[in-house]
Amino acid sequence: MSGQPLPQVLKTDTVERPEVRGDVNTDLLFPVAFNQNQAKFVFDRKGILDSNSQLQIAATVVETNGAGGVLQAFYPSSVGAPALISRAFMEIGGKRISDLQDLAHYTTWKRLHFSNEYRKGIAMPKQAGNDVFMGSAARSIAANSATAIRARGFTAPYGTLGRISSEYANRTTDLPIGEQTAAACDTTDRPKRFITDDADTTPAFTIGLSQLIPFLVGVQLPLFAIREEVSLHIIFNEPKADIAFCVPQTDATGVPINKANCVSTIVEKKFLIMADYLFYPSMMAEIAEDIMSRGGYDIPYLEVLEQRNFTSYTTGGFTNDYQIQVGGKKVKFIVVQKEQQGLDANFGNYNSVALKEGMTYNFKIDSNNVYSLGVANTALQKTEADAVEGVPLVLNNYIYTFKGQTDGAGVIGLNDFGLTDRLTNTYSQTLECGSQGWVGLKLENAFGQGQRISNQPIIYSERGEVFAPDNNTSRNVRFWIGTQRLLNISSGLVTMLE
C-alpha cells in the first residue's frame, strides 16, 4: 500500500473536533439520464459527499383492465421502497468500485437488523415497509362466555404475535356501533404510505446512499479531490407486483385485484438525490495536499458479491451442495437467502422461506468443515446469522423458522401458528411464519480481517427432509459474500488495489 489511512474527517464517525467554519451544502441532484429501466447521477466535484445523502424515489401503480377502484398498493413489508431498485453501482472514472446486485433482497437482510424502535420511528416513515411485531390475538370473535371475556372476546389460539392491531376490534363506522367484529381486527399499511396511481399524490420515500453502495459505509468521498467523473447508476426492478410493490387481494371496495395486471412507473420528477456536500476549508486543503502529492489515501471497504442458484424440493430426504466461487478474495461473511416466489403475502418476493421441518447446514472451506457438527438447531442458526453483523436479527422465532409450530411432518394445525390470522393488507399474517430464515456465517476475525480463500470453492451443504407441504416448491438461493477490498485515491485518481 502506498497511501495513508483515511483521516477522521473522511470517516462517517463523529468528527472529534469539527472545524468551526464547517459547512453543508445540500443540492437537489437530478439524473443525467433516466428511463423506466435505469438512471444515472453524476456528482459535482465539490466538497466531501456525505454518505448519508438520500435518494428520493416514488412510483405509481395502476391495474390495467381493473375496476378502477383504489388499489391501496403498498411496498413489500420486509423491505419497503428499496423494492423499486434492482441494482446500484458506483463508478469513478469509468471504474466500477462498488456494485450491489439484487439490492432489494440484500436490503431485506440489512433491514432485519433494525431495532423495532428504529423501524417504527424512522424506517417505516422514511422507506415504508411494515415489520414490527407485538402481542396479538385471533381474528375470530368468540361467543359470549366467561372465557371470552377473559380472552378479550377473541377465540383461540391465544398468545399469538402479529402487527399492532385493535385490542377491542369494535365497529366504529357501521352499525351496530361498538360490536366486536373480525373485520375491525384487520390492519393495512398507513394510508399515507399507499402507492397511488397519481404522480402528484403518490408518496416519495428516501434511501441513504450507503444503503445503495456499501462502499460508502464508513467513507465520506472527497469529491473535490477526485479528478474523474463520479457517478451512481441505478437499475430499477421489474415494475411488477411482488417485485417492485405489492397489492392487496381486493381493492378498497372489495373487488378482487388481478396482480398480474398491475404495473408500476417510477415518477421521474420525484426521482432525485438530496446530496449533502460537506466543507471543512482548512482540513480540505490538507486532504487535497495528501491526495495530490503525498501518495493519497488507502480506503479499505466492504464489497458485497452475489451468487445465485436455484433449487426445487420434492418430498423425501435431500442433500444439496452449492459451490461458492470467491478464490483469492478475503471473505468477511457469507449470507444465504432462499427466496420463494409466488407467495401471496405482505413481503412479496423479499423473503427467505425456511423448510417446514428445517434443515442442517455446513460450510466447507479448503475441504474442511467449518462446523464439526452440522448446524441443525434453528436457534443456533439464528445465533450464527446474528454474528455476521454483530447485531441480532430483530425478528421473532415464528418468523425465522417453522419449528415449534409444525407437527413433525410439516403440517401446522390451526391453533399452532405462532402468528395471528388477523389480516394485514388483506393477507393473513400466518403466511409470514418461517418467512425470514436467513443463514449467516461470519468469517472475519476479531480484528475485522476477512479470511483469504484459496482457489478451491467454498461448499455450502444443506441436508434434511422435505415433507408434503414443501413438495414441488422452489427457491432462488442467493449467496451474499462480503469481501474486503482496498482502493487508493491519489493525484486525483482512483486505483483499485484489491
Binding site: 441443525a376 430483530v394 476479531a446 480484528f447
Partner: protein, 453 residues
Amino acid sequence: MTTRRQYIQVLPTNLGDGVFSDRNGLAQVIFELPSVAKIMNGKSLRINGTFTLKQGDGTAPTNATQFFADAPTGDIMIDGRTGMSSFIETLSIQNLEGGTYSTIKAYNRMCASILPLNESIQNYLNGCDTTYGGLSKDVSTAKKVDKPFQFSLPLLDGFLQGNPIDMMLVKGLRIVITLAPSNFVVHNNYWRNTASTAGRANGGAYYELSDLVCSFETEVPDAEGQAAMMANMNGVLEYNTYTSFYSVLNSNDYNLSLNINTGRTLSVIGNMIPSEWLNNYQYNSQQTLQLIYENAGGVLENRVPIRAFTFTKGGLRLPLDFELDSEITQLAGTADSFKNWESLNIIRDGWSIYNFEKSLKTELSYPLSNTEPARFNRERYSIVEEDKRGQYNIGVGMDKITYNGMNFKGTPFGMRIQSIAVAGVSLQPHSIFLFVKHKNTIVFENGGVQIFM
C-alpha cells in the same frame, strides 16, 4: 500474528440417552471444553438444545386453547421473562483439573433480576425468544411451550462475559449445569385462576432438554502464535462474578448480616418471593414481587408496604449513608422512584439505565390501595403490551466510579428491610436471594492457578 475465526461445538460429557430432566433423565449437564491454543470469545458461548414441556402423563400442554378457560386443562407454562435461564439452578465453571473459577447458586433467581431489564417488550417478542426462550408475556410464552422448541442460551457469568479467554492458560473449561426441579421451572396459571391445577396432575408436569450442544467461537492464531500460547505458563485474568446467598425474611423489621468476604465488591443484587411459592407448581418460582400477604380468598397477592431499606458495612451505613425510604410512596401507591433508581443502578450504570420491566405498565400499574391485588388480573390483560406484573429488585450498588469495588473482607455486609405491619394478617416467610457481584483475579504462574477474590 494473524488469527482466524473457528467455531467449536461440544456435546455433553454425560450424554447418556440424550435427555436431561429431573424426571426422565440426568439432572446435571457437563460440558468439557478442551485445553487448546485458542482464544475463546466467552460472550459467544451458547447452550443449544430443544426444550420440551410435558404434563404429568407425558402429553403436551394446551395453552393455545385453554389459557383463558373456566376450568382449564393442560395450561402449564414457564416464566417468560427468564425463559430457558430458569432451568439452571447452579452454574459452575471449572478447569479440567478441578479448580473452580465461578459458581453461581440459584442462577435462575439471579436471572430473574437481571434479564427483565431489557430495552422493551418488543425486544422479547422479536429476538429474545430465540435465544433465551421466553416471550415475557405469559400468554405468549404459554403458547410457545405447547410444542417443543429450540433455544440458544448465553450464560450470564462474568467469567464468560468479560475478557477473551486463553483456553490453554485456563487449562480448558468444565461447565457444570445443575438443573432446577420441574416444580420450580413449570407452573400452573393458578395465580390468575384458582381452577388451574394441571401442573400437579399425574405426578406433576416436567420438562426435558435434548439435543444439547455447547458452542462458542474462538480466535485461532497462526502456528507461531499457537506455539507461543502453548509455551506460556503465566498470566493474569480479571473478571466479574457473582456469589450467592440465601436467607428467609419473617418479620416486619428484618435484619441480615452476611460475611460475604469479597475484596472488590461491585454491588449486591437481590430479590424475594414468598417461600411457599418456590418449587411449587401452583406459582411461578421466578417471580420477583415485593412482600405480599393473603387476600380474603387465601391467595398471596396483596402488598405489604415497605418502609425503608438500610445497607451497612461493618455496622456503618455504607455505601448509602441514609435509609432508602419508601414509606410515603408505598402508602400512597405512587412511584417509588428513588428506590427503583437504586435497584436499577445495581444492574445497569445509573447513566445508561433503560429497561421495560420498570415501565409505567408494570411497576406503576399497582392500584393505589394496598388492599387490592398487586397485579392486574386475567380479566384485564393487555393483548399488545407487557404484562402488568411487578419487578421488585433489592440491593445496592457499591462502586460506579472506579469499578474496583468495596472491600468486605472482615467486615460484614448488612441489610435491614423495614415493612409496615398490616393489621389482621400474618406475614408469610419470604425467601431472599442475594447475589454479590465482585471482581476476581486469577493468577497463572508456572502451571499453577490461584484465584483472588
